[in-house]
């Protein structure tokens, strides 16, 4: 979150807890939505570029007949993508950098990256 949170972690805790009471914190902008499919145990495209410090959604659609698991320790996301289904993964706000993910059930082929670019240079979604 914002820099003031880092300066005052305790305040952030209380603010965070009070946010729980709200249904969903209202966002001024619609978060960017990115798409990816799983086909033949590969992610297509295998990389997305998102802006830093922004919340985005990644919709992963599994076109294979077998289940897959989107797994990323750096992104701290672990989500099963049942066969023929699509799932939404909420990402961010993230710092600029490169975050690897895999399809845990077919790790040799199902690999990808989320590239997070500083806000100024990221493509507008």
């Amino acid at each position: 979150m914002s820099a003031s949170f880092r300066l005052r972690p305790l305040g952030a805790v209380f603010l965070g807890l009070s946010l729980l009471a709200l249904p969903l914190c209202a966002q001024a902008d619609e978060p960017g939505v990115y798409h990816m499919v799983i086909k033949d145990h590969r992610f297509v495209p295998d990389s997305i570029t998102i802006p830093a410090d922004a919340k985005v959604s990644l919709i992963v659609s599994n076109q294979d007949a077998t289940p897959e698991e989107f797994d990323s320790i750096p992104l701290r996301r672990e989500k099963v993508v049942p066969a023929g289904k699509e799932i939404t993964i909420l990402l961010g706000p993230l710092k600029a950098g490169s975050y690897a993910f895999v399809g845990e059930y077919h790790e040799d082929t199902a690999k990808g990256t989320v590239v997070v670019q500083p806000a100024a240079t990221a493509p507008k979604e």
């Binding site: 289940p67 698991e69 320790i73 989500k79 066969a83 845990e104």
Partner: protein, 273 residues
């Protein structure tokens, strides 16, 4: 076969750590093996059910069903462990006295230790369902023969079970005087790690803010996807890149359990041997 073995091993490893700690914590409790077996059986049955309904769970709660499902299981397991540890600490003296009097542990009815069977069941259900989904996928796409798959599953189960057995036997090498303190501390850390993991799922679902993300990055020191990293992530809740929210949940659970059992801590546990 090897791919199957590796995936099954990973999932089994995580449940084996939980089972190993529970077995050691309940060492000497009557009927322990029976209720742990019930927990395992129930967990495997549940894992099959969860895998079968993976699509339904995934679509629930506006697509965040998996996150909430995992949160609920982890929070429930953490709560059960916390409650058991507090009870163990508060009744440590009585348990010790009874051990001395009768030469055996308290009657099963008086001890909530068998609640840990539910914890075993939940761990198996959560990790097992992922293994079941994977094996189902392999069986469906048939890149391997049924025999190869079976051999891979057996190898993975054996490998994971071996680590759990090492953990259990290693804990039993601790003298009886310290076993209770060590296992109750391990259970406390296990519960704290589960609470932090639950917080991670709530952050993933967008319900909680991450606050500071990540709070630190210790992947250079200990990678979370290695065997040691995986064991530690279950055992003490190690995370190479936790969010501040997870750290808060970890500290809150740890502090809460320690505080709740503080009074009894003063009446120190005196083992019978």
């Amino acid at each position: 076969m090897l791919a199957t073995a590796i995936i099954v091993f990973r999932e089994v490893l995580e449940m084996a750590v939980v089972v190993g700690v529970v077995l050691a914590a309940a060492e000497g409790a009557p009927g322990r093996n029976r209720w742990v077996a019930y927990g395992l059986l129930g967990g495997f049955g549940g894992a099959g059910l969860v895998a079968a309904f993976a699509g339904t769970i995934s679509d629930a709660a506006a697509g965040m069903g998996q996150e909430y499902f995992n949160t609920a299981i982890l929070a429930f397991a953490a709560g059960l462990i916390g409650w058991t540890v507090i009870w163990m600490r508060q009744h440590g003296r009585e348990m010790a006295a009874k051990l001395k009097e009768t030469g055996r542990a308290v009657a099963a009815g008086e001890s909530p230790l068998h609640m840990l069977a539910v914890v075993v069941g939940l761990a198996v259900l959560r990790e097992g369902s992922e293994a079941v989904l994977f094996v189902y996928g392999i069986a469906l796409s048939q890149p391997e023969s049924a025999l190869d798959i079976a051999a891979g599953v057996a190898l993975g189960l054996a490998g994971g079970g071996l680590i759990g057995a090492f953990l259990y036997l290693g804990l039993l090498r601790i003298s009886a005087r310290h076993l209770f303190s060590v296992t109750s501390l391990l259970l406390t850390l296990l519960a704290s790690g589960m609470a932090a993991q639950a917080a991670g799922y709530l952050v993933a679902a967008g319900t909680l803010p991450a606050l500071i993300d990540p709070l630190w990055d210790s992947s250079w020191l200990m990678a979370q996807d290695g065997i040691a990293g995986r064991v530690l992530s279950v055992l003490i809740g190690y995370q190479e890149r936790p969010s501040a929210m997870q750290a808060l949940f970890y500290a809150g659970t740890l502090g809460g359990i320690l505080l709740a059992s503080r009074q009894s801590n003063r009446r120190s546990w005196k083992p019978a041997s």
